[in-house]
């Protein structure tokens, strides 16, 4: 080791790799949560989607996305170049940085998977993920983390670890998809009623939530992006603690809210409450424990309200991802303006609107093209029998199958 800057380089790179590994584990959390909150007849496709979206995100972001996001000084996009070419950092490893960023892209794609679950065709979904991770996510990411600020329009926009840039992007893309896809058969009755479709495994959903909670320490903690000084380590520790606090208040608030509204605690809402708190605090986990607590409390309330709201307007979201990631991504980003005196609501709103409009419109166009060409929805017969048998020929739980 020649000097102190080498130590900083090593420790910062280690932070990114370690945090990246934690965030990668969130893919498992998303898979378990989605599998648990949906029916067993669709379990294989759900696991397959979560596995493949991670693989596609890794490949496409390496090949195209990273350069579009972080390469060059363009206002709208970064460089159109291949496989990290022309990019180098002096204070940390490029590959560590890439690895840390790529798992964020996969997280955005995972959000979509839950919303469209139980009726989407596998291949159109994968094509969408390829475009999202190659172009949509990196382009909007270039405006904030890439440093272009969209020619000054997004100056001052603050999103520490990606409430908007990662989670809301996933939410907007999912919203565009689900509007074209429609609700699951039987979810809504002709007279305007909502028929609940209970998930197959709450233990699995709970395990998934705990995995996500664990992974979020890497998501937010790693986003400090430096571990070269004592202050950096203090900052990372503070982010870990604030992240934990927001999730705790989110889940507790959701528990109290469901007890008051429905006279019983709804575990699925408590799980969503924890995740909502995590999404909300992601925009500002460095703003202290009090801010994280309030972020979590409001997130817990929002998620309980919006899950019902989306059902009322007949947007079928089996896992509550829109309420968790889109709604609380917006809330968390706005909340930064409350706690950080250097940030204004207008700065945050401009960023939310720019990212939201771009993601929603491009996603809608892409979903629309896919719908008109190869189709995005399985047939009614396949949906009733379960997409697993028709899309994969496999069953998640063959011992319990009526076909055996």
């Amino acid at each position: 080791m020649e000097n102190f800057s080498d130590v900083q380089y090593i420790l910062t790179s280690f932070l990114m790799l370690f945090a990246g590994a934690l965030v990668m584990w969130m893919a498992a959390g998303f898979a378990m949560l989605e599998a648990g909150l949906t029916r067993t007849k669709n379990g294989v496709v759900i696991l397959l989607k979560n596995m493949l979206l991670y693989a596609i995100a890794s490949i496409m972001f390496y090949a195209i996305g990273y350069n579009l996001m972080y390469g060059g000084e363009g206002i709208f996009t970064g460089d159109i170049a291949f496989a990290l070419s022309g990019i180098n950092y002096s204070d940390h490893s490029l590959m560590a940085d890439f690895f840390f960023q790529v798992v964020f892209v996969a997280t955005a794609a995972s959000v979509i998977s839950g919303v469209v679950a139980e009726r989407i065709k596998i291949w159109p979904f994968m094509i969408f993920v390829a475009f999202l991770t190659s172009f949509i996510y990196p382009i909007q990411g270039h405006w904030s983390w890439g440093g272009s600020a969209l020619g000054g329009f997004m100056n001052g926009f603050s999103d520490f670890a990606g409430s908007t840039i990662v989670h809301s992007v996933g939410g907007w893309a999912a919203l565009a998809g689900v509007l074209l896809l429609g609700a699951r058969n039987g979810k809504y009755t002709k007279n305007g009623g909502v028929r609940p479709i209970p998930g197959s495994s709450l233990p699995l959903a709970t395990l998934g939530t705990f995995i996500l909670w664990l992974g979020w320490f890497g998501f937010n903690g790693g986003s400090v992006l430096a571990m070269g000084t004592k202050e950096d380590v203090d900052s990372i520790a503070g982010v870990f603690a604030a992240t934990n606090m927001a999730a705790s208040f989110g889940s507790l608030t959701a528990a109290i809210a469901t007890q008051m509204l429905y006279k019983k605690i709804d575990l699925t809402m408590v799980l969503n409450g924890a995740l909502a708190g995590l999404v909300a605090v992601t925009a500002g986990p460095n703003l202290g424990m009090f801010a994280a607590s309030v972020d979590g409390i409001v997130a817990g309330l929002l998620v309980v309200f919006f899950v019902s709201f989306f059902d009322k307007i007949r947007i079928d979201d089996p896992v509550g991802a829109l309420s968790v990631h889109l709604v609380n991504g917006i809330w968390g980003t706005l909340a930064v303006a409350i706690w950080n005196p250097e940030v204004t609501f207008m700065m945050q709103i401009k960023g939310i609107v720019a990212v939201g409009l771009f993601t929603f419109i491009t996603s809608f166009i892409l979903w629309f093209i896919l719908k008109q060409t190869i189709g995005i929805r399985v047939t009614q017969e396949h949906e009733e029998e379960g997409v697993d048998l028709h899309e994969t020929g496999l069953e998640a739980y063959p011992e319990f199958s009526k076909n055996n």
Partner: protein, 180 residues
């Protein structure tokens, strides 16, 4: 009339009903009657069956449980024989042009012979059933009024509780009411 007297008169009526049922089958297997609808095919729709599965079973928690179980098995055995008789005497050639034009095929002499063989077995089971019914009646007669009434009232209360469903609480899943 006390509860016990009332119950004993129902037992006697059940015996009469069962004997009447056996006699109706004897009329059928002798060829004097060929109306297949005269006897219910479902044991629980028969007069004796209705009494056995409702009123009689109300007493099954006491020491009469074994004899009631025997009666139930024997009654099933009787009905099994009747089903065989029915299949032999009232069989139809389903799908044939002739059966659709002229109705069901008439039973032959050999059919009646076979039906009589089944009837003999039925009669044997019926005698056993009536013996068990007599034992049951004796057990009831030997029971004092207080015990009899306590057994029946506790059983009736538990039956009432089963019939009256508990008021179900409303349940929600993710804010949507789950229909019970």
């Amino acid at each position: 009339m006390s509860l016990k007297d009332d119950y004993l008169s129902q037992v006697r009526q059940a015996r009469t009903d069962h004997k009447k049922w056996v006699n109706q089958i004897r009329v059928i297997v002798s060829g004097l009657q060929n109306d297949k609808n005269i006897i219910a095919l479902n044991p629980s729709e028969d007069s004796f069956g209705m009494w056995l599965y409702s009123k009689a079973m109300a007493y099954s928690i006491s020491n009469s449980k074994l004899v009631l179980n025997d009666m139930e098995s024997l009654f099933d055995a009787c009905y099994n024989q009747y089903h065989k008789i029915y299949a032999v005497l009232f069989k139809e050639e389903s799908g044939s042009i002739f059966s659709s034009l002229f109705g069901s095929k008439k039973a032959s002499i050999s059919d009646y012979k076979l039906a009589n063989q089944y009837y003999e077995i039925l009669l044997e089971k019926s005698d056993q059933l009536l013996n068990k019914l007599r034992i049951f009646e004796n057990q009831l007669t030997a029971t004092n009024f207080e015990k009899f009434e306590s057994v029946l009232s506790s059983e009736q209360n538990s039956v009432k509780e089963e019939i009256t469903p508990k008021k179900k609480e409303q349940r929600y899943y993710r804010g949507s009411l789950i229909e019970n």
